[in-house]
Symmetry: C2
Subunit: 332 residues, 2 copies
């Protein structure tokens, strides 16, 4: 029975990568690839099933090989989320401290403007916290890939095991009747694995795209809102007359309370009126290297995903693949 | 001898704020002031000289009253800096992990694009780290205010002490010859204090403005650069064909390596070509509440500071203050 050409099993390639000598110390030079020199600085995952023990990685070591890298990445994403949450909270706390400090200076201008700058800082902190939540959502999407990797591992292992059994039996007893049974098992295992690998590649591509598109959109949103806030913050600071006084002189009275209040209103309005940019990324755009247009465009909606249309596996054999009609780019 | 009208000593107002009952739990409602309801959640600093002991605040408790709030704020800024540094580092680490994971999937498109998305993420991390450094610089500027507050405290204490001595002596021995000496001391102390207070208010306004203007400028820079990176990141993701495959089908070969490389080049070029926005904030702009213009403007240079022109104190008496000629706004 003819068999489909198969890709080398992924774990075989994995072990080669793991033993490769070209994982270097991270450098800060701007390169176009991580694999041309940057490395994680942490060693590659062990290629045998025998991991080193450490409390922080005990759960990781019970992960199958296939899902181990993503498991660790998801853990790192958690640290990233926590860092941004902390930054947000600290900023909000600082805002209050600034306001209270300003009030006790006894200087009307400093008192009023430090309070209002504090409001701006507090909003910056809220944006940071919202960003942390968005990163966490993106992290959850990556988990779908990891879970699928984890569930596909047994299917790969099974296929490999039966293949080994067949080889061993062919060497020892080439005429054994058991070979026929094993070969039937192998076909079933391959069919199951075919479906599993298709599910894995579909899930991987869809969720990778979804997770990082969401992360980039959240980055853009935080940035645009923080630009709004920071610009109004600078307008507030511009109301602060920092020309030095001669000892004994009284300063001119502070008369910008109304303007300051208005600036905060402006900031609040601008934030409320913020909308994601709405220009979709067209297919023709992707191919042209025009930089100016690329600066202007961005997607309002997340990149579109076509609905999954996985059909049931054909257990008895393989169907010839359909070629040529699938588009290679997703139009925004 | 006529004395200048004096502001109530700042620590007197400080104690009132400290004992006020209106420091509430922080609320998330968007208010235009911290003093209308938001509070720090942490108790006010003690108003006597006797602080509570705790290891984390031992150094803070040796600060004079005047500089204590700013001392704590500067400490919080340090936590903020650390959080952003951590976020930057984690992001760079995740970038490497993503690239390594993508390579071991055995999927050409995922392998190439995860590597290049990793480059984008790594640059996002670098921006975050640069932001942390800028926040640290801003924090250093605030220290100048705190140090001046700390150095002015003795001058205030001295003036208060002599004033108390005079009152006590007047009650006990109204005819004492020592009164004349004390009153001369008081005049000298007041003169010194006059200079100190002028130095403090000048330093406070200048450095407050400088520190937070730098912080807002850094926020805008990080945001604008991260928008550039995130938009190119989305272009990369758009090259990933996530239309599902039927089990048994081979995917169309990945043909976007060149485009992906070009996108990274675009990103690198756009980052390199980034410049701060160059429109100064004019005086007339500050007074008009036009929101659309306010969205567009931003300052290229830090807000201008007029050179300090503090003249020496007049020890023998006070000069009448000069009014009217000082502008109340600094033109950008």
């Amino acid at each position: 029975m003819p068999r489909l050409p198969r890709q080398p099993p992924a774990w075989w390639r994995f072990s080669h990568i793991g033993n490769s000598a070209n994982i270097a110390v991270p450098s800060r030079s701007r390169s176009l690839s991580f694999r041309s020199g940057k490395g994680s600085g942490r060693g590659p995952a062990p290629t045998t099933g025998r991991p080193g023990l450490s409390f922080s990685s005990l759960r990781g070591t019970t992960q199958p090989e296939l899902s181990r890298r993503l498991f660790k990445l998801i853990k790192s994403e958690n640290n990233l989320v926590t860092a941004h949450e902390t930054a947000g909270r600290e900023r909000i706390f600082i805002a209050t401290q600034l306001s209270e400090w300003g009030e006790q200076t006894g200087d009307d201008a400093v008192s009023d403007l430090s309070d209002k700058v504090g409001v701006i800082l507090s909003e910056l902190g809220e944006q940071e916290e919202a960003y942390a939540h968005a990163l966490d959502d993106s992290r959850a999407v990556l988990k779908a890939i990891r879970n699928t990797e984890k569930s596909v591992q047994p299917s790969r292992d099974n296929k490999a095991k039966i293949t080994d059994d067949i080889h061993r039996l062919k060497t020892k007893e080439p005429q054994s009747a058991k070979l026929v049974v094993l070969e039937q098992e192998l076909i079933r295992a391959e069919a199951e694995n075919l479906v599993a690998e298709a599910q894995l590649t579909n899930m991987t591509r869809q969720k990778l795209k979804e997770a990082y598109d969401a992360e980039f959109l959240a980055t853009i949103e935080r940035a645009e809102k923080q630009i709004i806030l920071a610009k109004h913050g600078r307008r507030l600071l511009n109301l602060l007359d920092d020309s030095p006084v001669v000892p004994g002189d009284t300063r001119a009275a502070y008369e910008h309370g109304g303007q300051a209040r208005q600036i905060l209103n402006d900031a609040e309005d601008d934030l409320r009126d913020w909308r994601p940019s709405s220009e979709p990324l067209g297919a023709e755009e992707v191919s042209s290297p025009t930089k100016t247009t690329s600066k202007e465009e961005s997607l309002q909606e997340p990149l579109q995903e076509e609905p999954a249309t996985e059909s049931a596996a054909e257990a008895a054999g393989a169907l010839p693949g359909e070629e040529g009609t699938r588009t290679t780019e997703v139009a925004g």
